[in-house]
């Protein structure tokens, strides 16, 4: 690896770590600060981890157990310490050690956060990666074809469908798709059928077909429209005319000159979208009953579960950073004008 590339990577990694530290501080601040602005006390926060009609004693015990009786900077310090050197967790009859990096224990289910993230990540990864392949291929293909056949029935039909894809939310298309393809036609398994790849690859694949297509439908629509617009703009450029004038075959003009240039912004957006999705495809996971990071984040947010919210947010941020880094590196491959060094 050239030295300059290595230095570039090091700079990006340091930047990513700094960003994650800032994200963790912001999440901590939001979690405690915003509710306080609305008048919520730590007693009320603790009460959400106690049963119905809790006594003052139960609230006080819970507040103490979760460290909510300590100032916010002390809590943050304890959390950071857990990440760096690990922490102890009292189960009641025994104490267990959570090794570094320990992202704390869920306020709600008392399980270490990191194993939960590791447990949920494969489902989200399976969902996002499969859908990404579909939407990238189909979206770009449809966009290119629409641009080449601009104004045709094909173009109009494709763009109307794309508009539908962009407009219809997942929980609408997902439910309709489930009802039609699963419960009526019986072509694919229904909601809640996801199993990990390691458990049964066949069922894993079958259970993800509908979520992949539903999720890809939403994104493919956007990519088709972006590709079409980019291609139309590029095809009007002077260098395309020059390429054609040189007598290059149309296929070469389209694929090597026009498409290559169009793909640069598409790739940027793809990196962002994929990074975001890897942090949790919330609606798709909810609609299809897939226990991924998105569902975990929703549970964390609705349950006032700070350690889980922090964990998922950091993972999501990490994915976005990594995805962006990969995209930046890929620029050099796609666009000859961009070279590192």
């Amino acid at each position: 690896m050239p030295r300059i590339v290595f230095a570039y990577l090091i700079r990006r990694v340091i930047g990513a770590v700094l960003m994650l530290v800032i994200v963790s501080m912001v999440v901590f601040g939001i979690f405690f600060g915003i509710p306080k602005l609305a008048g919520q006390s730590n007693d009320q926060l603790a009460a959400s981890f106690v049963g119905k009609a809790p006594t003052a004693e139960a609230i006080a015990q819970t507040k103490h157990r979760l460290n909510l009786d300590k100032p916010i900077w002390v809590q943050y310090g304890k959390w950071v310490k857990g990440v760096v050197v690990g922490q102890e967790f009292n189960n009641g009859p025994s104490t267990e050690h959570c090794s570094s990096p320990c992202f704390g224990y869920s306020f709600k289910n008392n399980q270490a956060v990191l194993p939960q993230l590791e447990d949920r990540a494969p489902a989200t990864l399976s969902l996002a990666a499969g859908a990404a392949v579909i939407w990238l291929i189909s979206g770009v293909s449809v966009g290119v074809l629409s641009a080449l056949k601009r104004g045709s029935i094909w173009d109009r039909a494709a763009m109307i469908i794309a508009l539908g894809g962009v407009s219809l939310p997942i929980y609408f298309t997902g439910l309709v798709a489930l009802a039609l393809f699963s419960y009526k036609l019986g072509l694919v398994p229904g909601g809640g059928s996801y199993v990990p790849f390691s458990q049964n690859p066949g069922t894993w694949f079958q259970s993800l077909i509908l979520p992949w297509i539903t999720l890809a439908f939403l994104y493919a629509a956007t990519y088709a429209r972006l590709t079409r617009a980019g291609m139309l703009e590029t095809l009007g450029e002077d260098y395309i005319r020059t390429a054609r004038a040189k007598g290059l075959p149309e296929r070469t003009v389209i694929t090597k000159h026009a498409l290559r240039s169009t793909l640069t912004p598409i790739l940027t957006i793809f990196g962002m979208d994929l990074g975001l999705l890897l942090g949790g495809a919330v609606l798709t996971e909810h609609t299809f009953g897939i226990a991924g990071l998105g569902q975990l984040s929703i549970d964390g947010i609705t349950g006032n579960d700070l350690p889980v919210v922090l964990g998922v947010t950091l993972v999501a941020a990490l994915f976005i950073v990594v995805a962006n880094l990969i995209v930046d590196l890929l620029y050099a491959v796609i666009d000859p004008r961009v070279r590192l060094g």
């Binding site: 106690v50 609230i59 103490h64 929980y171 439910l175 419960y183 009526k184 229904g190 809640g192």
Partner: protein, 589 residues
């Protein structure tokens, strides 16, 4: 997730209207003729002793905890009986009898030689945990101690802690207090006898021991907050796996002996519970036959209701039971002018309950118009109507009822009405809609109101359950809902009408009712071991509270439930708030 509900309902509605779902495809989809609308409300239907198959549950939520010692949810306690046996449990039947408690791990109901201050239970012999070790009374004592006295397990009720005698040095639970005798007021003279000594007579103790907290836990296997991951079963099924937010799988407990358990049929070979599933998808799967039961037991989604009710075949597989809840408005006795009983009675007459019922979802999804605080099905319920209302043809209270309200206003010294505030939970749109309907209705009598909204999470802890806040902010009318932890008048009323339940915050006695006659009646009732006499007193307490006009009953909550024809032994239990009883469910195929 709440935000997506309306659009999800539209999607479900589209699915429903286009007839996409429920046409087949699932393994259990059948054209079986249903047993009839509301058939399972009063009796167990599809009765069967056929063993085998897999019973498939799903729910849109998760357990608070599946640990029997750390759960409060009604469905969770209903479900826990598949893998645990408490001393007593609710009778697995339907109708009024389903709120009676019968022996489970115990041989018989509690014996009390001193009018409810000491309770002794004899355990059945031969009961074993799933690891083959015998269940003893010490395991029950330990279960009660850990669930009520530890700092860690805080999700379940704490009634044992409230009613049992404490040690001379306050007992701190088995995790901190390692002394062999533990809580001295629970005695286990031998392996099959357990005696509870209370600080005062409590005639309904049998209901307390019917809670999941008496399901035995062997001390050596207790892992505290982690116990839910590896529970030891005493019921007919053992827990093969429980994954938070994903699923729970049960299979037969090889050490469960039918001869020790006369109330369970243990029909399915395997029970699956999927957690955190989409509510709309659960409905679709139930209709398609690829799922057997929604474990939540709170009714189908809004988009599914129309579909079920417009198709006679599907309607024949539905039930619309009472859920044991009352939705009501409390009138605070310290916020003028509602400190005057006549002003409160004026509000009683001028409240348009029908409009509020419609706002909450109508008779099917909302419930029946209520006239009493105790809902039907609760021990002690007595039907009466202190403030009868009549309505105009096109809706709204008629002139006669409004005249009654104005008459009360006259006596209150506010002939032209008054102003006050109505509170509702901001994140419960149906409750806010109820407040708006109430506001409109009260206008007709000259009572002007301002609606104030507070978040549900802090509703009782910070706002309406904190008297100081209520007085300072003049919140005269507070909307809320209430259900009992056990289905008797004491279980339902004591927290919302007993003056000693008023707390600086987090209380549920929102009107701050502190009527000495009511307080005395509670004490006399709970110290009386005559069940019928107690029931009579509960009805009287209800009438006294309505005389005081402190609460306006709006609706007895109901829900529309769907039971797939594939499921056997289906009946609504009022012991667990109007859900289906899961104890003896099976599947046809």
């Amino acid at each position: 997730m709440k935000k997506i509900r309306p659009l999800a309902a539209v999607a479900a509605g589209l699915v429903a209207t286009t007839g996409l779902a429920a046409c087949g495809g699932g393994s259990g989809s059948t054209s079986d003729k249903g047993a009839g609308y509301n058939a399972a409300v009063d009796k167990v239907i599809n009765t069967s002793d056929k063993k085998g198959g897999t019973l498939r549950f799903a729910i849109s939520d998760d357990f608070d905890s599946p640990d029997p010692g750390n759960t409060y949810y009604a469905w969770s306690q209903n479900f826990a009986r598949l893998y645990g046996r408490g001393l007593l449990t609710f009778k697995p039947t339907a109708g009024p009898d389903s709120n009676t408690v019968i022996p489970d791990l115990a041989q018989g109901p509690g014996q009390t030689p001193d009018n409810g201050k000491t309770w002794t239970y004899k355990l059945r012999s031969g009961v074993k945990f799933d690891d083959g070790t015998p269940v003893t009374s010490k395991d029950v004592k330990y279960a009660v101690e850990r669930s009520n006295f530890t700092d860690e397990l805080q999700l379940g009720p704490k009634y044992f802690k409230a009613y049992l005698q404490d040690n001379s040095t306050p007992y701190r639970g088995p995790y901190k207090d390692k002394s062999p005798e533990g809580l001295k007021s629970i005695e286990t003279p031998d392996d099959t006898t357990i005696t509870f000594k209370l600080s005062k007579p409590f005639a309904e103790f049998d209901y307390l021991v019917a809670m999941a907290q008496t399901m035995p836990v062997p001390a050596a296997k207790d892992t505290g907050l982690k116990y839910e991951q590896k529970m030891v079963s005493s019921g007919p099924y053992k827990v093969d796996s429980y994954e938070r937010g994903k699923s729970m799988i049960l299979s037969r407990n090889p050490n469960w002996d039918q001869s020790t358990d006369p109330i369970r049929k243990a029909l399915p070979d395997r029970i699956e519970l999927q957690l955190k599933q989409s509510g709309d998808d659960i409905d679709n799967r139930l209709l398609a036959g690829s799922l057997d039961m929604d474990a939540a037991g709170v009714g189908v989604q809004a988009g599914t209701q129309g579909k079920l009710l417009t198709d006679p075949a599907k309607k024949a597989n539905t039930d619309n039971p009472l859920q044991g809840y009352l939705r009501f408005a409390s009138l605070n006795l310290h916020v003028a002018p509602l400190d005057n009983v006549h002003c409160r009675r004026a509000v009683q007459y001028a409240t348009d309950k029908v409009a509020m019922q419609s706002a909450y979802g109508g008779p099917l999804a909302g419930g029946d118009i209520a006239t009493t605080i105790l809902p039907p099905g609760t021990v002690g319920y007595t039907k009466f109507d202190k403030y009868p209302q009549t309505y105009k043809q096109g809706g709204g209270l008629d002139d006669q009822t409004i005249a009654k309200a104005k008459g009360e206003l006259q006596q209150c010294g506010k002939p032209n009405g008054f102003k006050t505030k109505i509170s509702a939970r901001s994140d419960r749109p149906k409750e806010v809609a109820m407040a708006q309907a109430m506001q409109q209705g009260l206008k007709a009598a000259g009572i002007e109101t301002e609606i104030v909204q507070y978040p549900a999470g802090d509703y009782f802890n910070k706002y309406v359950g904190a008297p100081e806040f209520v007085h300072k902010n003049g919140v005269g009318i507070m909307l809320m809902a209430w259900s009992a932890d056990w289905p008797t008048g004491y279980g339902f009323l004591s927290q919302i009408l007993d003056g000693r339940a008023i707390k600086p915050s987090g209380g549920n006695n929102l009107p701050e009712e502190n009527n000495p006659a009511i307080n005395k009646a509670f004490d006399e009732a709970i110290g009386n071991t005559d069940k019928d006499a107690r029931a009579k007193v509960y009805g009287q307490i209800d009438q006294m509270a309505m005389d005081d006009a402190v609460d306006i009953p709006i609706i007895y909550a109901k829900a529309l439930l769907y039971r797939p024809p594939n499921v056997t032994n289906v009946g609504i239990t009022s012991g667990y708030g109007g859900q289906y009883d899961y104890l003896n469910m099976g599947v046809k195929k």
